[in-house]
Amino acid sequence: MITGAGGRAWSVRPAGDRAVLLETGDPATSVAVSEAIQLAGSTEIEDLVPAAATVLVRVVKGTDLTEFGRRLLDLAGSAGSADGDTAAHDELVIPVTYDGPDLADVADATGLTRAQVIAAHTGTTWRAAFVGFAPGFAYLVGGEERLTVPRRSQSRPRVPAGSVALAGTYSAVYPRESPGGWQLIGSTDASLWDETADPPAAIQPGRWVRFVATGLAGAA
């Protein structure tokens, strides 16, 4: 382990002969570190996968991983955490009809009324920490702590595209129809995946997102 500039402990773990796994500790730091790595523009980097507490960095063949890992630690140390990020940013506004089949269960699990669940979900600005699970599926962080809910005990074989969901401390919108075990609290008509667009995923890591309630369903 090497201590970075912010007095923070970082470490790099081996991930085969073509990648290293940088431990960041939390999703917000993964985003900040990924942005710093991208800005540095190292030619040997093939792909970056930020995630909940790590950033996976895949490199081109022939890269000296020990030396690369040292440079990565320097970069990470200078990037610091995203906590101090107060720069102006564009928000993607997603209109939601809060009519999800699990809205009542989420209210029960959190001890809130349905209206309070909606108010909490629309009350904060979320940020995409990372993508995964399926194309365009972004894990959003920054929600209120009281919205933390477990996954459903049984996952659904088919979750419709546009379903707005909660699991753990995350929120997400299913960009395409897929199986899924998250709690569905609403739905949106917003298109979040278009394979002919560049980029195809509307929500990329680092993107700020705000949900607004539309319609009357679940408003009471």
Binding site: P14, G16, A51, L56, K61, F133
Partner: protein, 288 residues
């Protein structure tokens, strides 16, 4: 002008070198499972190594040339014939209009590659015509009656050297691994490199599932049973779910996962991993 699919066999997919740089979209690389064999088939017919070709799993494919074409078959040596006349493996084969090329089941190896001079000219999705079986991106698996458009062959000025074919048919495949990133999640990570494993029939392009052929050999037991917060997965990662049955990730692996990765197969050994058939025995050796 086309190549017509008369019979797809168990599974025939279009594959190129895959999608690069779409991790931020939640999209993995996909592409040919045995990259060496795929590139070799293309080079034999004068294509760029990453051109679109057919990945044929366990043979069974039959195609008819609708014009004069040059093709090559590499990878798993599926016995082939052109209108009943035996056709050679691993070499350029001329076809005239109306001739049918048939592949039977290979005796060793799993995936054969059929390249056509000019490449298969289908529209790419996110920069690649590869079928990603996990993300459901790219063309559908080939089906009877499909007519595949073929591009114009490009004159080759400088022919790149062919890399050696992927070795096949060893009684026990040996794959080199680097331990980590989560070997510390296991009571005895060295169990991976002890004794032999066997390829389960539940294997596909996402990953090779591994069983113990001999139940007396040590299991990979986890020290910690919780899920890891989702983290990036690499090609060749050996992920171990709570059941202890490891999965070795191939081309269509998920971008992130919540089970610990005990070790990762070296990049140069991935092609051999992609040619292992159900029942194949293998062992892992530590490279670090």
């Amino acid at each position: 002008m086309t190549l017509t699919v008369l019979r797809p066999g168990p599974l025939a997919l279009l594959q190129d070198a895959g999608r690069r740089g779409h991790a931020a979209d939640g999209v993995g690389r996909s592409g040919a499972a045995d990259r060496t064999a795929h590139a070799r088939a293309n080079l034999l017919v004068g294509n760029a190594p990453g051109a679109v070709a057919i990945e044929v799993t366990l043979g069974g494919l039959a195609v008819r040339a609708e014009r004069e074409l040059t093709v090559a078959i590499t990878g798993a040596p599926a016995p082939a014939d052109i209108d009943g006349e035996p056709a050679e493996h691993d070499t350029a084969l001329p076809l005239v209009a109306g001739q049918t090329l048939r592949l039977r089941t290979p005796k060793v190896g799993l995936r054969s590659y059929l390249a056509v001079a000019g490449g298969i000219a289908v529209a790419p999705v996110l920069g690649s015509a590869s079928t990603d079986s996990l993300s459901k991106l790219g063309p559908a698996p080939l089906a009877k009656g499909d007519e595949l458009p073929i591009g114009a062959p490009t004159p080759v000025t400088c022919r790149p050297a062919l890399s050696d074919p992927t070795p096949l048919g060893e009684p026990v495949t040996t794959l080199r691994v680097m331990f980590g990133p989560r070997d510390d999640w296991f009571t005895d990570p060295a169990a991976l490199t002890t004794g032999e494993w066997q390829v389960s029939p539940q294997s596909n392009r996402v990953g090779v599932r591994l069983d113990r052929a001999d139940p007396d050999q040590p299991a990979l037991r986890r020290r910690r049973n919780e899920e890891i917060p989702s983290e990036g997965m690499v090609l060749g990662a050996i992920q171990v779910p709570p059941s202890g049955q490891p999965v070795l990730f191939l081309a269509d692996h998920p971008l992130t996962g919540g089970y610990p990765v005990v070790a990762v197969v070296l990049d140069d050994d991935i092609d051999r991993a992609a040619q292992m058939r159900p029942g194949q025995r293998l062992r892992f050796v530590a490279a670090n």
